[in-house]
């Protein structure tokens, strides 16, 4: 199983847990965007954790 298939499976499983279905022809599209969504979440987390530059605190 490649990473895309793993993403598709993780997505459909998570959504099914929430009671939400995904039409089969849209699973691939959702999975294609998922890595960018993960990147956004990583960017936000890193920004939250990053110390402010000296003198930048107000």
């Amino acid at each position: 199983m490649d990473s895309t298939q793993e993403d598709e499976r993780a997505l459909t499983t998570r959504l099914a847990e929430l009671g939400v279905s995904v039409p089969q022809d849209q699973v691939e599209e959702l999975a294609a965007a998922y890595p960018a969504l993960l990147a956004w979440m990583r960017i936000a987390r890193e920004l939250a954790d990053q110390p402010m530059a000296p003198g930048a605190e107000t």
Binding site: L11, R14, L15, L18, G19, V20, S21, V22, Q26, E29, L30, A32, A33, Y34, A36, L37, A39, W40, M41, I43, A44, R45, L47, A48, D49, Q50, M52, A53, A56, E57, T58
Partner: protein, 470 residues
């Protein structure tokens, strides 16, 4: 008496002055506006619903009151309109899910406009639930850019931008979660004002992401937008996001010019992704601001556009996904393809990631506040690309959720919460409008509006009209 059918491109305050002086009839003005809508709306798609009958009744009432010397203020007798997210009669949010929905209560901003004597002329097109980009295959036909009807007017307050730019209303209220007032303003060549978070009530407005949602006016001039804001602002206990701290802004706050105003330009934030034609217009605007006496300096923000948009989108997707979850379960067929997929993506954002994004947001706020200690306003283009052609069908989700998003510099002010205005700064070489965005300290809306008004007056780009619709 002035001939009402020659005034469709006049400013709200110009017609207001004539109405107050009884040189112009609200009834004739409303009739002329309705006639123009009837003529042009089939081509431009600005309105979903037109309240011809009630608007004429409101105009007659305004005529009587003004005639009796009971003038209520600048909106009295002036036709304005609302994005179809504001609860008022048929309220669809541009969604098949709500195609037959009729609101039982009015949004607070509608009621306040009504109390100010406005003639409420209709409901305006929107991206589906203020998010999914409009396409030619949507349940509701898309609004079209008056400068090039094959292009988007920008969203999500699409109809508001079109109505103001094409002379189909004298002002319109939109909503703005990541730029949805300022983006259509920029693409349509009009003014869009997102006030400080919490200054205009969102009670009765269908949400996208409540912690980022703002209501705001689109208008032909900064003074018009200010007058519209002043008519509806104020604390509202029915809106959980309504601020206890409120401000009053009047015409006197817009005068005085910008000599000595410190304008910071965060090039590290906006420049890397900007279209060269837009950059050229923006640089010309900076020169004009300097000529007017402003002190324009580079002001590194220390944040990338991707960082700010990632934080904004993670918050938006999480909050919007939670709001739409019940309908995703029970009526998934009611969602357009892009919105349905985006909301499912929102459900994939864990609560911990949402909380991290809120932490990142607090950091962005601190960094912007720090920059605004040494600068009165920040300047940047509103958006770094020109209006796209209207797509034939839904865009792939990876067009929205991407590490190379369309450069919408508007997100910074939503994440920060402070005021921001988009004002026209001339056409790109392609002939399409470009917006200059000014943003400022929270609750210092007056400084941002004063700077925008001074630029508008000096540059004169606000007088540009789309030639297709004389």
């Amino acid at each position: 008496m002035t001939t009402a059918n020659q005034l469709h491109y006049a400013s709200l305050l110009a017609v207001s002055d004539q109405l107050r002086a009884r040189e112009l009839s609200p009834v004739e003005l409303t009739r002329a506006t309705l006639a123009r809508i009837e003529h042009l709306n089939p081509k431009l798609g600005a309105y979903y619903t037109v309240f011809a009958e009630s608007a004429m009744a409101e105009a007659r009432e305004a005529e009587t009151e003004i005639g009796d010397g009971r003038w209520r203020g600048p909106l009295h007798g002036v036709p304005i309109a609302f994005k179809d997210l504001y609860s008022l009669g048929p309220t669809t949010a541009g969604s098949k899910l709500l195609a037959d929905h009729v609101a039982t209560h009015e949004a607070a901003a509608v009621s306040r406009s009504r109390a100010a004597g406005a003639v409420i002329i209709g409901k305006l097109a929107t991206h589906e639930f203020a998010m999914a980009a409009a396409t030619l295959s949507d349940h509701f036909p898309p609004a079209r850019n008056p400068w090039d009807p094959d292009r988007t007017p920008g969203g999500s307050s699409t109809g508001a931008g079109v109505a103001v730019a094409a002379g189909l209303a004298f002002g319109a209220f939109g909503t703005d979660t990541g730029g949805s007032v300022r983006l259509p303003a920029a693409h349509c060549g009009v003014v869009g004002y997102k006030p400080t978070y919490g200054l205009i009530s969102l009670a009765g407005v269908i949400p996208l992401a409540p912690s980022l949602d703002h209501a705001g006016p689109l208008a032909r001039t900064v003074a018009d937008a200010t007058a519209m804001f002043a008519a509806v602002c104020g604390h509202d206990p029915d809106d959980p996001g309504s601020s206890d701290r409120q401000i009053a802004i009047g015409p006197k706050d817009l005068v005085g010019g910008i000599r000595g105003l410190r304008i910071g330009v965060p090039r590290d934030f906006w420049e890397p992704a900007c279209d060269p034609g837009i950059r050229a217009r923006f640089e010309a605007a900076l020169l004009r601001l300097e000529e007017m006496g402003a002190r324009v300096t580079d002001a590194p923000l220390g944040l990338t556009l991707l960082q700010v948009m990632a934080v904004g989108y993670v918050i938006t997707l999480f909050e919007a996904g939670a709001y739409h979850l019940p309908n995703l379960r029970s009526h998934p067929e009611g969602f357009g393809r892009e919105l349905g997929l985006a909301m499912r993506a929102g459900l994939m954002v864990p609560e911990a990631a949402y909380r991290a994004a809120l932490g990142a947001r607090a950091r962005i706020v601190r960094q912007v506040d720090k920059l605004l200690e040494d600068h009165d306003v920040l300047a940047m283009p509103t958006i770094g690309v020109l209006a796209d052609p209207l797509p034939a069908g839904p865009r792939p989700l990876s067009r929205r959720i991407t590490e190379s998003p369309a450069p919408q510099y508007t997100w910074l002010a939503n994440v920060h919460g402070g005021p921001a205005v988009s004002v026209p700064c001339g056409p790109a070489p392609e002939g399409l409008p470009v917006g200059l965005q000014l943003m400022g300290r929270s609750f210092d809306d007056a400084t941002v509006l004063r700077a925008a008004q001074a630029y508008e007056e000096a540059a004169g780009w606000g007088q540009m009209r789309p030639k297709l619709w004389p």
